[in-house]
Amino acid sequence: MSDTDSKTNRTAGKITVRETAELAVITALIIAGKEALNALPNIHPVMLILMLCVKKYGSRAFFPAAAFSLVELLLYGLSIWTAPYLYIWIIAVAAALTFRKNSSVIFWSCFAGIYGLCFGLLSSLPMLVTAGIRGAFSYWIAGIGFDIIHCISNFAIVLVLYRPLWSIMCRIKDR
């Protein structure tokens, strides 16, 4: 446990086999959670699990984020709509890392909500290349309705599930 401690994590040593397995299971959980709720637009626990992973594993949360993005790209193919996955979850983990010390449920709910709201804006970046500024702008505006759903659902999911999942994660990680 000491080598993933918040203080020593920046100079993190070698990743252990056990951690690799844990991170793999977390990745599988993220994918399962996302795919199981696919029918509901933008309602999924991806952000919640990644946030908890950041809090528990620090910068190693980049691994599940990257693996999740890779699997999603393999599932759906690389297109203009899936291209944001190349960077969007990496940015999410990086943003969460800067607030890692914070442990307020309200704070993390708001954080996830804001990220959900910005999701469309970040997703419209590839459109800059293919459709220009006007195209990217109208792509973003067209999707704001779904961003608002994303925001509210992220907020609610984190608010309700943060504590129970955190205690489960503590139990797994610190055993």
């Binding site: 446990m1 918040s6 442990s103 804001i114 709201l117 505006i141 704001i144 990680k173």
Partner: protein, 191 residues
């Protein structure tokens, strides 16, 4: 029973929740004294004084300024996004419109229709005419068939359309139409 206070509450908390003693969880240990007591009560499962539930008490006693700031930011962004969505989205207009609908089939045999409609959105104009059909999804109509040709999902075929030469950003349910619009459907292959 006597309610432990201060350091005694922390000790009592750890005695009942030894798994919280490790370093990672001290981050989770509330900073203010009131929290510790709340956690302690929750840990030993005794009733709360004056009927206050632990979570509520924890929320209201939290002096975490960052949470308040980020909550305010969230609300402002949410209102801003909603306003941008309402104000900047194209608005529908009523009245009769004439649309030109060009269809590029896969085999290269193109077709063209002129549609007169009172509908506000593209779906309302084309679906009754039988030009488009498809399946319902949570995002609205997913167009699978245009002018009799059905996109083969397994071959990664999909129908896309442009409005006056620009790639459409909306589904057929939300695509606002105006008099004189030229809609062009094309069967694309590959995502």
């Amino acid at each position: 029973m006597r309610i432990p206070r201060g350091a005694a509450a922390v000790t009592a908390f750890y005695r009942h929740k030894p798994e919280c003693r490790n370093k990672d969880d001290t981050q989770d240990m509330p900073r203010t004294f009131g929290h510790v007591q709340c956690r302690y009560y929750a840990a030993v499962n005794i009733s709360f004084p004056s009927g206050i539930r632990p979570d509520r008490k924890e929320f209201f006693m939290s002096k975490n300024r960052k949470s308040i700031i980020i909550a305010v930011i969230l609300v402002i962004l949410l209102i801003g996004a909603f306003a941008a969505w309402r104000l900047l989205s194209p608005s529908a207009s009523e009245g009769s419109k004439t649309l030109t609908v060009n269809i590029c089939h896969l085999e290269g045999d193109n077709n063209s229709f002129t549609v007169k409609t009172d509908a506000e959105y593209l779906r309302g104009a084309l679906e009754p005419e039988g030009i488009i059909s498809g399946t319902e999804s949570s995002y609205g109509l997913w167009i699978t068939t245009v002018d009799g040709e059905t996109a083969d999902d397994s071959a990664q075929q999909w129908w896309g359309y442009t409005v006056n030469g620009e790639t459409a950003m909306y589904g057929a349910d939300e695509q606002v139409i105006a008099d004189g619009d030229v809609i062009e459907f094309a069967l694309n292959v590959g995502y």
